[in-house]
């Protein structure tokens, strides 16, 4: 026993622990890479082989609270769908609107008396799920409806989109189909362009991968088509307990053994937030909803089942990688910093391995994602190149081509790093990722100030859009720990998508 060199053993144990922390940063990168590697397999593993011509009678439910600016245009677009008009019933559930929404709906119902119906809730404000259930109760009263389309008041369906969704319902195993929600604002700003790219990566890219894996994480709230049988099987109601009713519906459908299909070629345009504050509220609602989903379905994670694929390891890793991404960012930085302060030889190796892997993954993901919707990606090319954040790109550059940052650029200014200078620079690089979340949070704080219109976008370009989303997820942790009341914040829609 006395021969054991305890300081060396403890030092080694600490080093391994710190290395394990660094490795946590690789998990989300690995998870995203695996998902994107799966996308090309959608050429083989897709649902088109089981799709067939099928045009069921579709009831469309639109929850509407003070949507006077957008609801008329949305109804007109629905009436212009390339779909038999006699097979369309549009139920607009007016959630006690106080603007001109009821008048607009009544006017449209007068023009299309066989297709448009106004359902009024006198007591509103309980949230989207309650509003939807009001409409669902009505459409289930008779046998007319064969399929139910749930949509948002502001979205605009491409003429062929519904037809491209219903064809999958020809397969009786399919319970629901989701479409590609594409950012469609006409007066775009930096934030809507980032959101547009995020939607490319998360929908026609990542959800194709989910088709391949056989498990969908979430039906788009603005475009989900259910069979009548599926709606009845999940209880004929939308969950009202959480802020993630779309995800609950998606999970319940699949847990019942029915398939959820994502149709990437059914495109629906949507208006997305133009301000960080609006985006923050929207995503905080989603993030907090996902916390309750994670808790509610705690018995399915990583427990493979013959009935559904939600319990598969791949789906579990993807789900938790997104949910715990801020944790991974922080633990990874703690590991790197710890190794640096231990003066461990492996610190630099671990950093380079992690960041070179991250750089390769980012380039692959963005290069493939950009091709999936090249039209939108080209339009948003500035945000495509700065998606990870300008400073994170410099960090990747430092990992990939260390000489550029350490030698070439300083030499242009006649600067040579001292050992302490290099140490400070290295430490700054290691803590950058969690610190980028602080920058994103700061961007929200400065946004409403006089310098906000200029400074907030600069901060987001520097920190990265991903860091903004991570900061919001981190905020959801804080809100959950503090048990702050989860409030439904309606995302303000002004009809920008239709201009």
């Amino acid at each position: 026993m006395s021969d054991i060199d305890w300081p060396a053993v403890l030092g080694s144990a600490l080093e391994w622990t710190l290395l394990a922390l660094v490795a946590t940063g690789a998990i989300p990168v690995l998870s995203a890479s695996l998902a994107f590697v799966a996308i090309p397999f959608h050429a083989i593993i897709n649902h088109y082989g089981k799709a067939a011509p099928y045009l069921p009678r579709v009831a469309i439910i639109i929850p509407a609270w003070n949507e006077g600016l957008v609801i008329g245009q949305s109804i007109e677009r629905l009436m212009a769908l390339e779909y038999p008009r006699e097979s369309l019933h549009i139920y607009v559930v007016d959630d006690a609107s106080t603007d001109e929404t009821p008048d607009v709906i009544r006017a449209k119902a007068a023009i299309y008396p066989d297709n448009v119906f106004h359902l009024r809730r006198e007591q509103g404000g309980q949230g989207k799920a309650h509003t939807l259930n009001h409409g669902i109760d009505v459409v289930l009263k008779d046998d007319w409806m064969q399929a139910l389309l749930i949509m948002d008041a502001d979205v605009i369906y491409m003429p062929n989109s519904l037809r491209r969704m219903t064809r999958h319902l020809a397969d009786p195993k399919v319970g629901a189909v989701s479409a590609y929600i594409r950012e469609g604002s006409q007066d775009r700003n930096y934030l809507t362009r980032f959101i547009g790219l995020e939607y490319i990566l998360s929908q026609p890219a990542a959800r194709r991968a989910q088709n391949v894996f056989g498990a969908q994480a979430c039906l788009a709230g603005g475009a989900q088509l259910h069979t009548r049988e599926n709606l009845l099987a999940i209880g004929g109601r939308i969950d009202t307990e959480t802020l993630a009713e779309d995800t609950i519906t998606t999970f319940e459908t699949q847990l019942g053994g029915r398939t959820v299909v994502f149709e990437p070629l059914a495109v629906v345009l949507a208006e997305e937030p133009r301000t960080i504050d609006a985006l923050w509220k929207q995503r905080l609602r989603w993030a907090r909803g996902n916390v309750s989903v994670t808790s509610r379905y705690r018995n399915i994670w990583f427990r493979p089942s013959r009935k559904h694929n939600l319990g598969s390891v791949s789906f579990g890793i993807v789900w938790f990688s997104i949910w715990l991404l801020p944790v991974a960012m922080i633990t990874s930085s703690i590991g790197l910093l710890g190794l640096l302060f231990l003066q461990s030889d492996v610190a630099l190796t671990a950093f380079r391995a992690l960041w070179i892997f991250a750089a390769c993954a980012f380039v692959f993901i963005l290069a493939l994602g950009a091709q999936v919707d090249s039209q939108l990606a080209l339009r948003n090319w500035r945000e495509l190149f700065t998606f990870p954040g300008v400073i994170s790109m410099v960090v990747m550059l430092a990992a990939f081509f260390p000489e550029i940052l350490i030698e070439w650029i300083p030499s242009l200014f006649g600067v040579v790093f001292t050992d302490s200078g290099l140490f400070i620079l290295t430490a700054a690089i290691y803590v950058w990722i969690p610190f980028s979340m602080v920058i994103a949070w700061l961007a929200r704080k400065v946004e409403p100030t006089a310098v906000g219109p200029v400074l907030a976008p600069i901060l987001i370009y520097l920190a990265g859009y991903g860091s903004l989303l991570c900061a919001i997820t981190f905020d959801s942790y804080i809100k959950e720990i503090r048990r702050t009341e989860a409030v439904w914040h309606k995302t303000e829609k002004t009809g920008r998508v239709s201009r």
Binding site: P159, R164, L265, L269, I365, Q371, F401
Partner: protein
Amino acid sequence: MKNKAMDRLADAAPSRHSGALPPIRDIRNPGDAFIQAEIDSNRRFEWLLPIKGLLAVAVVLVLVVIRKVFFE
């Protein structure tokens, strides 16, 4: 009001890239032949994904080669 972006999207990629579809007589009810042809066309369109994946890998490889050649 016309939405140009939407109109561009309306006849977006798939059918253009994967062969002609039968003519539509009734836009609201294009018929089983058209819908089946559209499904087949969309299915063929997905075969571009492996090519796109290879292109993305090629971009990564370029970076790796630059690192190997110039920075090691």
